[in-house]
Every structure is written in structure tokens, then in C-alpha cells.
């Protein structure tokens, strides 16, 4: 069974700041991985490093066996679109929306291969079934949407083209708990087929029961399995309930 993601010795950071310290991580097909960590400890940096968006990085990252990492110290984001086309979907913190464009534009933009573009109406329909509130908002500019609706647009956009690896950075950020819970429930039900998903959150209780594996990240170092849960309670991770 080939791994979806294999990270070896990944260090990454911004300017003089090293955020990740030689991280190792392997994710297998069908896995839904929860990544728990406080702000500033490397959750976002790890997801962004996989997409090539950090200021600098070193170490190996393999997506379905193809190397997408390597060592670089400039040109953040230069290869991100190529990595995305290899089968990566990143739904970043802050949504990265195109303010001024409509919800329909956003969903269409997510259909970036020739075949998905041709069938974009059908794919949009699928997204609308996953996120019903967007149906009435298709023609609305995203600036007029609420936080939860904007999050749905960002997630929906990332789901328009099937990916091998979905990286979702804090889907609950800035949202009321009831909305966050329903979004994460939606994410936990998406059929991954041969792919995998990593959901990063600060709040452990958000992901309990929704993911197949839990990882903790603290000061740029990954802790897995039981260690993660122990670390969560010992270090008082926000909302840790045990």
C-alpha cells in the first residue's frame, strides 16, 4: 500500500525563525489524521510546507511517491500550483478567498483540470449538496457572506477537484462551535477513496471521534498516538477534554 504522504526530515520556517524541526510523518490511503497544536507551534507551517508556501524549507516530502519537497530558501509558492495539480488540496487558515468574486466563481475556480472544468456544473451541485447554505448564495460576492459561509466556500472550492491529499487548516477558526462541529462532521464523511486527509485544529474536542489518527505538534516537533493525547492534557492544549 503506497503512502499518500511521506515527510522525512522536514524543517521549515519564516526568515530567521525555524518553526519545524526535522519532522517525520507518513500518511496512508484512507486515513483521516487530526493534527492538534496551539498557535505558533507549527500546525499551519507543516501544512503550508507541504504546499511549498513557507519562506524556506529543507527535507523530503513525497506525495504519492513523487518528490515535492527539497531545499529552498526563496520563492515561496513558486511551485505550489504544480504541487496542487499533482493531487494536493490545501484549505488554508483565513480561507484565501478572491474578494470581489462570487461564490459560483470560487467553486468554478476549484475545477482546475480540463475534465473537471467541463463537468463543473455537476461538481458544483455535489458541493451544494454537501454545503446546502451555499445554494442560495451562488451569485453573491463572498465579501457579503458570514464567516461560516466563507469557510464553506473555501472548503467547497478545495473539494471541486478530487485530490490525493486534503490539508485543512483550522476549519473551526473564528466560527461558533455548532457551525464548526457541522463542518468537521461534513469533512469526516467525505469519501477519500485512495486519498487521505489532515485536519489541523487547536481544539482536541473538535476532532475526537472524527479522525482515524491523532497527532500532536508542539514547538515544531510531532508527537503521535498516545503521546499526543497525553501531551495534549499535560500541556493544557486548548479545550483538551480527557
Amino acid at each position: 500500500m503506497k503512502e499518500v504522504l511521506r515527510v522525512q526530515g522536514l524543517s521549515a520556517g519564516y526568515g530567521p525563525l525555524t518553526v519545524l524541526h526535522r519532522v517525520n510523518l507518513t500518511v496512508y490511503p484512507g486515513e483521516r489524521v487530526g493534527l492538534i497544536g496551539l498557535n505558533g507551534h507549527g500546525k499551519s507551517t507543516l501544512l503550508r510546507a507541504i504546499a511549498g508556501l513557507t519562506d524556506w524549507q529543507s527535507g523530503s516530502i513525497q506525495l504519492k511517491g513523487r518528490e515535492i519537497g527539497g531545499t529552498r530558501s526563496q520563492s515561496a509558492g513558486r511551485n505550489t500550483h504544480r504541487i496542487v495539480r499533482m493531487g494536493l488540496a490545501l484549505m488554508p487558515q483565513g480561507d484565501a478567498l478572491f474578494y470581489g468574486l462570487t461564490v459560483a466563481d470560487h467553486l468554478n475556480s476549484g475545477a482546475f483540470t480540463r475534465s473537471t472544468w467541463r463537468e463543473r456544473s455537476a461538481r458544483r451541485e455535489r458541493i451544494l449538496e454537501i454545503f446546502p447554505p451555499l445554494r442560495k448564495l451562488l451569485a453573491a460576492p463572498v465579501g457579503k457572506l458570514s464567516g461560516g459561509e466563507r469557510r464553506m466556500v473555501s472548503l467547497g472550492r478545495g473539494l471541486m477537484t478530487d485530490a490525493s491529499l486534503y490539508l485543512i487548516d483550522e476549519p473551526s477558526l473564528g466560527l461558533a462551535p455548532s457551525i464548526s462541529k457541522s463542518l468537521i462532521a461534513v469533512l469526516s464523511e467525505i469519501d477519500l477513496k485512495d486519498g487521505a486527509m489532515i485536519i489541523a485544529e487547536q481544539n482536541l474536542s473538535m476532532l475526537e471521534g472524527k479522525v482515524s489518527r491523532l497527532l500532536g505538534i508542539h514547538a515544531g516537533v510531532l508527537k503521535g498516538g498516545a503521546d499526543a493525547l497525553n501531551a495534549a492534557t499535560l500541556n493544557g492544549f486548548a479545550g483538551a477534554v480527557r
Binding site: 526563496q74 513558486r78 500550483h81 482546475f112
Partner: protein, 294 residues
């Protein structure tokens, strides 16, 4: 002093069309690539020469010359993108360095055209024929009418393409959030080349249309660049509706000034206009017509 309103309207409409084509190009290049394209006048002039060369050696059919101008403009635009945008866009101090680069390309290009084609200006064959029409008390040549109609037709087509095609969506997305665009597989470099090609094509079209009235020469790019910049700034960089409104206003001001106090005051009144607009609304006319984009 007799001012013929029909003449003013016709002249203003013609100028507004040409300035609109150039200003929209400059505006889009700035808002999508962060590039102040001082070489846009070079695109204009070189495209004019391209159209002239095709007219000389291939065919002087109206549509052929028009298409040749557009294609030449697109190619020059892409060349400028390769020289000034691609090497610099992700390096420190990009905006200033690219400004200097496009200025240098413009100066070098002018000398190249001077050396290759000589200083004498060249006429282009009439693209729209020799007919003339009456509009009130004014006489409108086929060239003028053709220029006005073609400009707006092309702009409408481009607006449609921008709204409905994948490439158009990619450019609109990249303008607003380059990182978000990368996350949906939109490559910055290939989209930038598309922008330079489309805006270059618009400049090339403007060159052929304007050449119905003025001839092509090595320095014929300077004034269009200046006017295009004025209109783009007055309209608010990045705003197409703003550029269109500004183009109409600037065209009216130029036509009115030319018939009332004389053509030598045209640049003065145009600069006064843009100074006043920017004093009142630093964001240009776009600051008046658009609600804050959320």
C-alpha cells in the same frame, strides 16, 4: 468662438476609445502583476510597425492588418513580460526594479525601431475604407467610426471572455489573491503571460485604429503611454469601469481643449484633470463608483 458640439463628440469618442484600450491594459497589468508598464507605449509603437510590415509585404486587407496589429501587440507584450516580469516578480524591491526595467526596454525599443525603420513615419492602409458620414454638422470618416465601433466591440468581447472562460477566471482570481490562485492550480507565470498577451493585443489594436489618423513612427508610443497612464490613474488603477469613465472624460477634455483654446494646451488640461481627481479621490474615479470591495 464657434465650438461645434458634434465635432467635439466625435473627436472625444474616438480619443476615448483609443485611450480606453491603452488605459485598461495598463490598469490590468498593474492590478494583476504589480507592474507599472512604462513599455506599454513601445508595445503600441512596435505593434504599429508589425501591422505596417504585414501591410507592406503580405496583404493590405483591412482585417488582415487589424489582426496583424493585435498579434504583434500580443507578442511584444509577452516579450516585455519575459524580460521585466518573470525574472523580477519574486525578488526584493520588485515594483521599482520592474519599473526601471520597463523604462529601459522602452528606451532601447525606441532606438531599435529608429535603427530598423528610420525616422520617417509610415502610413498604414485604411482599414475601414474611405467612406465618410455626417453626424450633425460634423464629418466622420470611416476610420474614425470604425475605430470607435471596433474598440467597444473588442472590449465587450474581452469582458465576456473574462467572465466566462477559464483563463479569464484565472486572471481575475490571480488579481485578487495570488496565493489562493496557486491553491487552485493557477500558475502565476502562465497567467501573467496571458495578461501581457491580452493587454498587448489591446495596445496593438489601438495602434492600428489610431494609425487611421496618425502615422506610425519610432516615437509614436510616448504620447499614448502618457495618455494611457493618465487615464488609468484617473480611473483608479485596477478598475475597468473607472478606466472607461476616465477615458470618456479625458477624451472630452482633449477634444474640448483642442477646439477652444488650442491643441498645445491639451496636455496641460489633462494633467490638471488628473491632479484634481486624485486630490479629491486618491483612489481615482473607482473610489467614487465602487463601494469598498470586501
Amino acid at each position: 468662438m464657434q465650438i461645434d458640439p458634434y465635432y467635439v463628440i466625435v473627436t472625444a469618442a474616438m480619443l476615448a476609445s483609443i485611450y480606453g484600450l491603452l488605459a485598461i491594459g495598463i490598469s490590468i497589468i498593474w492590478s494583476s502583476l504589480g507592474l507599472i508598464n512604462m513599455a506599454h507605449g513601445l508595445t503600441f509603437a512596435l505593434a504599429g510597425y508589425g501591422a505596417w510590415a504585414v501591410a507592406q509585404y503580405l496583404s493590405s486587407d483591412g482585417p488582415v492588418v487589424l489582426v496583424a496589429g493585435i498579434i504583434a501587440g500580443a507578442l511584444v507584450g509577452m516579450l516585455i513580460g519575459v524580460l521585466a516580469f518573470l525574472p523580477l516578480y519574486d525578488k526584493p524591491n520588485y515594483v521599482l526594479r520592474s519599473l526601471i526595467a520597463t523604462l529601459a526596454i522602452s528606451l532601447l525599443g525606441e532606438q531599435f525601431m529608429l535603427a530598423a525603420f528610420g525616422p520617417r513615419s509610415r502610413p498604414l492602409p485604411p482599414v475601414f475604407g474611405h467612406a465618410s458620414f455626417h453626424f450633425g454638422t460634423a464629418v466622420v470618416s470611416a476610420g474614425q467610426l470604425g475605430a470607435i465601433v471596433t474598440s467597444w466591440l473588442v472590449l465587450l468581447l474581452i469582458a465576456f471572455w473574462a467572465k466566462h472562460s477559464r483563463r479569464g477566471l484565472e486572471i481575475r482570481a490571480m488579481m485578487r489573491n495570488p496565493e489562493g490562485a496557486a491553491l487552485v492550480g493557477i500558475g502565476l507565470r502562465s497567467t501573467a503571460m496571458a495578461v501581457m498577451a491580452v493587454t498587448g493585443g489591446l495596445a496593438g489594436l489601438a495602434a492600428v485604429l489610431l494609425s487611421q489618423t496618425y502615422f506610425v513612427s519610432p516615437f509614436s508610443g510616448l504620447t499614448p503611454l502618457l495618455k494611457g497612464m493618465i487615464v488609468a490613474l484617473a480611473g483608479g488603477l485596477g478598475s475597468i469601469p473607472g478606466a472607461i469613465i476616465a477615458a470618456i472624460l479625458v477624451g472630452l477634455i482633449e477634444a474640448f481643449t483642442a477646439v477652444s483654446i488650442g491643441g498645445q494646451f491639451v496636455l496641460i488640461t489633462q494633467f490638471l484633470f488628473i491632479i484634481i481627481v486624485l486630490l479629491i479621490r486618491p483612489r481615482g474615479i473607482a473610489g467614487i463608483i465602487e463601494t469598498v470591495r470586501e
